[in-house]
Amino acid sequence: MTQPILDTSPHVSDEIRKTTCYMCACRCGINVHLKDGKVAYIEGNRDHPVNKGVLCAKGSAGIMQVNAPSRLRAPLKRVGPRGSGEFEEISWDEAYQIAHDWLAPLRAEAPEKLAFFTGRDQSQSFTSLWAQSFGTPNYAAHGGFCSVNMAAAGIYTMGGAFWEFGQPDWDHTKLFILFGVAEDHDSNPIKMGIGKIKERGAKMVGVNPIRTGYNAVADDWYGITPGTDGLLILSLIHLLFKAGKLDLDYLAQFTNAPCLVNEDPKSPQNGLLLRDEEGRPQVIDRRTGKLAPWDGQGVQPNLSATYRHKGVSHRPVLHHMAERYLSEDCAPEKVATRTGIPAKRIRQLAAEIARTAFDEAISLDREWTDFRGITHAKMTGRPVSFHAMRGISAHSNGFQTARALHVLQIIIGAVETPGGMRFKPPYPKPATAHPKPHCKVTPGAPLNGPHLGYPQGPEDLCLTEDGQPARIDKAFSWENPLSAHGMMHMVISNAHAGDPYKIDTLFLYMANMSWNSSMNTHGTMKMLTDQDSSGNYVIPHIIYSDAYSSEMVAYADLILPDTTYLERHDCISLLDRPICEADAVADAIRWPVIEPDRNVKGFQSALCDLGAKLGLPGFVNEDGSQKYADYADYITNHIRRPGIGPLAGWRMGDKGLQHGRGTPNEGQIASYIKNGGFWSEHVPDGAAYYKPFNMAYQDWAVEMGFYDTTQPYIFQLYAEPLRRMQLAAEGNGSHQPPDHLRGRIMATMDPLPIWYAPMIDAFEDPAEYPVHALTQRPMAMYHSWGTQNAWLRQIHGRNPLYVPTKIWEENGFEEGDWARVTSPHGGITVPVAHMAALNENTVWTWNAIGKRKGAWALDNDAPEATKGFLLNHLIHELLPPREDGMRYSNSDPVTGQAAWFDLRVKIEKSAAPAESQPAFPPIKSPVPKGPSSLKWKVGR
């Protein structure tokens, strides 16, 4: 038999251009293969520090994103009523003029009347600079409705958190415990890590109400009840304290466990750490038995010694922790019912942690010297590692839960040690080395400093002189004092209510606030379209920038069309949300590997133009001319502080090109392109672990420009900034919270991790609303962005409500059935499907599959629009009124993180409606429909 002759070496592509993916937030390196100038194929970049060659489904489907019919084509001016989707195309000049005419008077008279918030933005160090130059205090990105609890708890506790801040030591860990995550936080590195540890035979444990994705491959699964992760973690801490399975040496040297707490209830210092005149926390030095500063040379902090001075007792933090966590309230039997995890299994998990941490300790022969000048011969590690993101943080108790998880890691000595959790440069960086929030407005001038930061006490809050919230989202107010990422989910609601004040222009970027990115979606649409008695919109002007025809487009007055990710410049900067690895510092660029075929512009370039037109400082030269021609020009030439710019690679030094510090280099972007789109430099071996304490790392960090002086610190098991807020609530000091908030501050801002029931539980009868309802992000879909993608929507085009066996049987559900799902705020009617591998009191669905008719260039009968749905309709941005009529934001009282996952519902079988309810009338699409079939071969 003869076989056909086959060309097994066909031409692959004319050229490979290497850039950075933006199909989700993971930011992998990609090779874009081009044929005849068109994108032919996308694969992972093997040299890239994030993904090392692999690429997820979203990344490979990028080719269907750059051809998506939903791409906006030109600037748009609204011509119909807001919400109708009726627009006319205008020129960029006209668009800028409109924006200028709205914004220039605001800047001159009342800059706070501009609220500028960005969504899935990766250029926050740039957008925040623009907002700061404009002078409005009302700027933040989307962290407040995403995962600020994880970030803030991590920064306050240990100077870093997970994902962009840190990662498990995949090469050495022997037990990896994964709590709830949105599976793009991050995407490929976790999959690679799981593959790596499984290959080594290490164990993986999943703690998650839902056993899909990563949890499906976990060796052990703990199907926890939503909102109770903190309770489980405190029980693990209880068992470890009780068994003495603590790394005492590590606690003494590298944490504030030996620091001394003032125990005089009458003292204004009550509950604060004993400090010397220079403000340095004090410990008892084991060598002398006397007080010494925590960082004194050669000091050996004593974990156990107490100190009495002028009649005031001081006990070390560790004593307080023992008292708190040895309490039987934390016993497995006490938490089993609430968590849904039997006591025996809680013990099993604690034993597994203890056994791995202490019986399987690892030791690397690497000498290192700490900040006290003590040289250690080895690096000893407790090979237990954790990762968690939004699953535990998107609750109103998420800050304290995330703190508890960090404390658990620290008490076994598993942070920044071999086999544990490792920071990624430029982290670790303690809260005290971060900015504090700024909110002082001066008409016609920039804000007095960066908007966001880490308050250390009441004096750092963003309040007006009469104590009212200074920001439109009420971030950094007494309601949510440590809202380090702002509270984007409250902006529209507060602006509509004029509480704390009215605004004029809402300027949004990449945030689908009239749909899947808002709580109370229907209410939000009404707020965006509501008119006052004179027929003017309550929110007078809305400017929006997006690359695609999202639901939000219809609700804006002026649209600035952005490019796709392959058509633009970007920098993934160390000043922003970096992409480093534990062993390497890295940053990266995007660059136009193809040119746009539409009249669109990268949003950041548009901000350079608009900033110049408004004459914003930093965006104009001394002669008033435009400073940055476009974003690439900014990336190359902006100087943040001497020697430091957006990109750290290939800067200009005295003797030529150098990395880290240096003056701008006109060829910098070309150097990045030549190097595959990124820059990376290895952390020196002797600096690889113990980074907060290791002087080799600290010196290297200064050399690279992460900070200008060394910043050694110890982990804050006991968090004084929280205690300072409590002290104010108890009546101490001149900065006083309003009376109605005192109790809540005292209860929730505990300086040691606690657990309290999700806020909503205080208002809703758990018997009436017994079911927890969650969303998850599919691995092959980046919420609203994926649906316009012809390939990805074939994988995730439908989102039934997954129902556990118990509820399925109680309701007599059968395949194809529908359910009415009700919360105190609203109801939805949706298709259901059975799933057994699920917490028995939890239902869930895929995030953001449901679409509004007319959006994303889909047909009106697309399943996403007829059978898809959002849980957002069931979630209000405000908690129900208290007895005194006050309504709080549905957020964590510490950080303001949106409490998406506190949702409780009831479920009953429903007759099948024609389509999912609520249904909304179609919006008019600003883009034409897509083709009826695709045969996408670009080569000949």
Binding site: L6, K198, D219, N302, Q788, S933
Partner: protein, 252 residues
Amino acid sequence: MTQLPTATQKKLGLVIDLDTCVGCHACVVSCKGWNTENYGAPLSDQDPYGADPSGTFLNRVHSYEVQPDEGHAQLVHFPKSCLHCEDAPCVTVCPTGASYKRVEDGIVLVNESDCIGCGLCAWACPYGAREMDVAEKVMKKCTLCVDRIYNDNLPEVDRVPACVRTCPAGARHFGDLGDPDSEVSQLVAERGGFDLMPEMGTKPVNQYLPPRPRDAEPEYDILAPYLEPVADTAKGFAGWLDKALSALPGGR
């Protein structure tokens, strides 16, 4: 009807680790991308932005729930593409000789210029691994990226199927399953790799590695020594702490 070769020089195929596959669909889309641009006709999509989108995929991931007699239900992600069977019924059923199994490496291919789109091979395949392209009306199937694995225009490290190159979890392995010393054969031997539906007698070349046991009880006593109490109260703890500290280096 078409004849199979009596023997092939190699048995190239995939080993797919069901213990590690997280069901992310990376392999599905990478395959779609490469094979849309390369071998034969593009993999088309119908109604891509409409009510009933469908398209040709050479590799799909299915998810199955497993309820063991004891313990929690489990979810298994199961990627499936052509298994390049030794006794491939899709080849023998082909009326035109378009379907064939390569002598040199055992890859089962469709010569699209000879394919009349009759669909018999899809009916014959017990795995449902072949898909008729609606636009082109030819049968499409996994080529094991025959246009990558020997491709001189690719760096040597990239001469593997697109799905293997892209798999983030490292759950897909490629090699010669006819060579008992190859890495893939060793992996199959160590991990108890198995044939999919061996009762069909197709002798699939691709192998699956089973998930490791889940939710196993530990072999040690969880209460002792690891959770043996040293203290029940804060006072007791302080006493234990003093003793423990004196045992540390440089004790007081």
